[in-house]
């Protein structure tokens, strides 16, 4: 655990905006003016690009592709060393050779979502009209827009049907949107720790995070790239607040309790006396090293707007009408951000649509974050579900 003072941050790297256009260690699919991305906001994004990673080999009949959708603060580096943090991929527990999503068997694709900041076009990318970073000129995007862009990426790669789409949290929302928007392109779907709509409480938490960013004087109305500033404090506070919602009271208590950080007694100051404070500060600070504040605004907004039933006359089951997709819905007992009740509502709608659905709730005290952590039951369920789907799809054991 590192104790860090928020005021003594290193300067933003000079190549930050350029990095947004030219990501390190990723593949790029560019879509010219002839292939605009039609957005729910009623405008077109063009030209744009998608940064993505792939693992494994696409088989001859192109039937073993698995799309991984990342969460709010995730990116395409699902199963490799992260180029910025130098940490292992965010889902290396689940994706890799011999893992439940076995890269010796499946061709795994993980794109960075539209609006993010790791190489796919987003608010920190260069606006071709001005030559400057988009900032708040960037159109507001939705989960459906992200999925539309991913469908264009699949067209670009020549993949008609995905063997599976998997993701947790915001990634799970994309999985659901995939199944609703492109049912024939999704053979099996794993929406994990997510919901078919963002709750009022979750929108409220997001608003606190956004206000923290906008209240930072360095945010400069979103023009911080141009003005050479960076709303680190605001983004760090947003992350700290959000991070609490990813854990649980029990997990925080188990991990930190009321333990002091490197001291015997309270200092009678506002230092990070408690371990939990120090931990949160570290989470905030390490986050700003790899994430763009405006992207945080756009992606949280996309999640807030997500309400799958609203797009289908208020009847969630209609979103999955006639679905041939095999679903595996997974929730975690201590996840209070996307509680099991949300997954249960999803399952009811899928049942009402006569979809083939499996639903498992995993007992853990690790909260929402559990989907990213070492949860052997999660691994067994994902592996078993995909094995069943693989037999039904007639895929060979190894690609």
């Amino acid at each position: 655990m590192v104790e860090t003072d928020l005021s003594s941050q290193r300067e933003a790297p000079d190549d930050a905006p350029r990095d947004a256009d030219h990501p390190r260690d990723s593949l790029i699919a560019s879509f010219g003016v002839d292939k605009p991305l039609k957005l729910d906001a009623g405008v077109e994004l063009s030209p744009f690009q998608i940064a993505y990673k792939t693992y494994g080999t696409l088989n001859a009949d192109r039937s073993n592709a698995v799309l991984i959708c990342h969460a709010l603060t995730g990116d395409q580096h699902v199963a490799n060393l992260h180029p910025v943090t130098k940490k292992s991929g965010w889902w290396e527990t689940l994706v890799g050779p011999g893992k439940p999503i076995d890269t010796e068997r499946y061709f795994v694709i993980c794109p960075n979502v539209v609006g993010a900041c790791m190489g796919t076009t987003g608010p920190s990318s260069t606006n071709p009209k001005t030559g400057n970073p988009w900032g708040l000129e960037f159109p507001v995007i939705t989960i459906r827009d992200m999925v539309r862009a991913q469908a264009m990426l699949l067209d670009h790669l020549g993949i008609e049907q995905l063997f599976a789409v998997a993701g947790g949290s915001m990634g799970g929302m994309q999985v659901l949107q995939w199944a609703a928007s492109y049912p024939s392109r999704v053979f099996s779907a794993l929406p994990i720790a997510c919901a078919t709509r963002h709750s009022a409480q979750n929108i409220a938490f997001h608003e606190v995070g956004r206000q923290a960013i906008m209240a930072d004087p360095e945010w400069r109305g979103g023009r911080y790239h141009l003005e050479g500033t960076n709303p680190r404090r605001g983004l760090a506070v947003a992350r700290m607040g959000a991070h609490i919602t990813y854990l649980s009271d029990a997990a925080l208590h188990r991990k930190f309790g009321r333990k002091f950080q490197d001291r015997e007694n309270p200092t009678f100051s506002f230092d990070a006396d408690f371990e939990v404070e120090s931990y949160l500060r570290y989470q905030g600070i390490s986050f700003v090293e790899r994430f763009d504040a405006n992207s945080y605004l756009y992606l949280t907004r996309a999640m807030d707007y997500f309400d799958l039933a609203a797009d289908y006359g208020g009847v969630l089951a209609n979103a999955f009408k006639g679905a041939q997709t095999r679903f595996c819905v997974i929730s975690f007992t201590s996840d209070w951000l996307f509680p099991t009740s949300e997954s249960r509502a999803m399952v009811h709608a899928l049942n009402a649509a006569s979809a083939r659905v499996s639903f498992a709730e995993i007992v853990t005290d690790k909260g929402h974050d559990a989907f990213l952590l070492d949860e052997p039951e999660l691994f067994a369920i994902v592996r078993g579900f995909l094995d069943g789907a693989r037999k039904a799809r007639g895929l060979a054991a190894k690609s």
């Binding site: 095999r326 009811h348 639903f359 498992a360 709730e361 369920i381 078993g384 069943g388």
Partner: protein, 222 residues
């Protein structure tokens, strides 16, 4: 998620007869009543043994509901389409005619509203298959008559205070319910203590006395 204290209600059969191949005889009986290649919902599917048997021997498209989390997670890890749910509350969410067969195997006596469950089964599916332990079996009768205590048998191994089985019935009682609900009795089989089917031409009173468990195939009357 608070669940009623009825976990593993359907796993109450501890020492049941098995075929030489290792399959539970009552499940084989159920499976034999199912046409090939149909769509089946198994309510209270336990660890998925019947669903697996159905998919392997009858080539069915099977789905399951199971109350216990352990059962559900075990099923999903086997690649079966199973969700966590409660027969008493969750059948209402299924649309009419969603399945060809709805199966309730060794679970009827653990439901809160057996009649409502049965009605839902025949709304959701064209056919229903119900198997249950027969409370009219002579051993059960004898234990109350001679010893004056609640019966405990291989089929019903629980003490009165911790049993998940809250609605016991006899074969006769169940036939009565079928008449009241107005369903058509297509086929019935009673199994003796060794898991062998009783003589088909035996009278109902004989089944009710010597059948340790029964399997009923029902369909809508119209």
């Amino acid at each position: 998620m608070s669940m009623p204290p009825r976990e593993k209600a359907n796993l109450n059969v501890v020492s049941i007869a098995r075929t030489p191949g290792g399959a539970r005889i009552d499940l084989v009986m159920v499976a034999e009543m199912v046409e090939r290649g149909v769509k089946v919902l198994d309510v209270g599917c336990g660890d998925g043994e019947l669903l697996r048997l159905l998919s392997e021997s009858r080539d069915v498209d099977g789905r399951g509901i199971e109350l216990s989390r352990e059962g559900v997670n075990e099923c999903v890890a086997k690649g079966l389409a199973v969700i966590q749910g409660d027969a008493d509350t969750d059948l209402a969410d299924y649309p009419d005619d969603a399945f060809d067969y709805v199966i309730l195997s060794q679970t009827l006596q653990a439901t809160r509203h057996p009649r409502v469950v049965l009605e839902h089964m025949l709304r959701i599916g064209r056919h229903a298959i119900v198997s249950f332990p027969n409370f009219g079996h002579w051993q059960v009768r004898l234990q109350i008559l001679l010893f004056g205590h609640m019966p405990r048998t291989d089929m019903l191994p629980y003490s009165w205070y911790d049993t998940p089985n809250i609605h016991h019935c006899t074969i006769k009682d169940f036939r009565q319910l079928c008449t009241e609900v107005g369903v058509k009795l297509e086929k019935a089989v009673a199994l003796n203590a060794w898991g062998s089917p009783l003589r088909l031409n035996a009278p109902w009173w004989f089944w009710n006395l010597f059948g340790e468990q029964a399997v009923f195939l029902l369909s809508r009357k119209d």
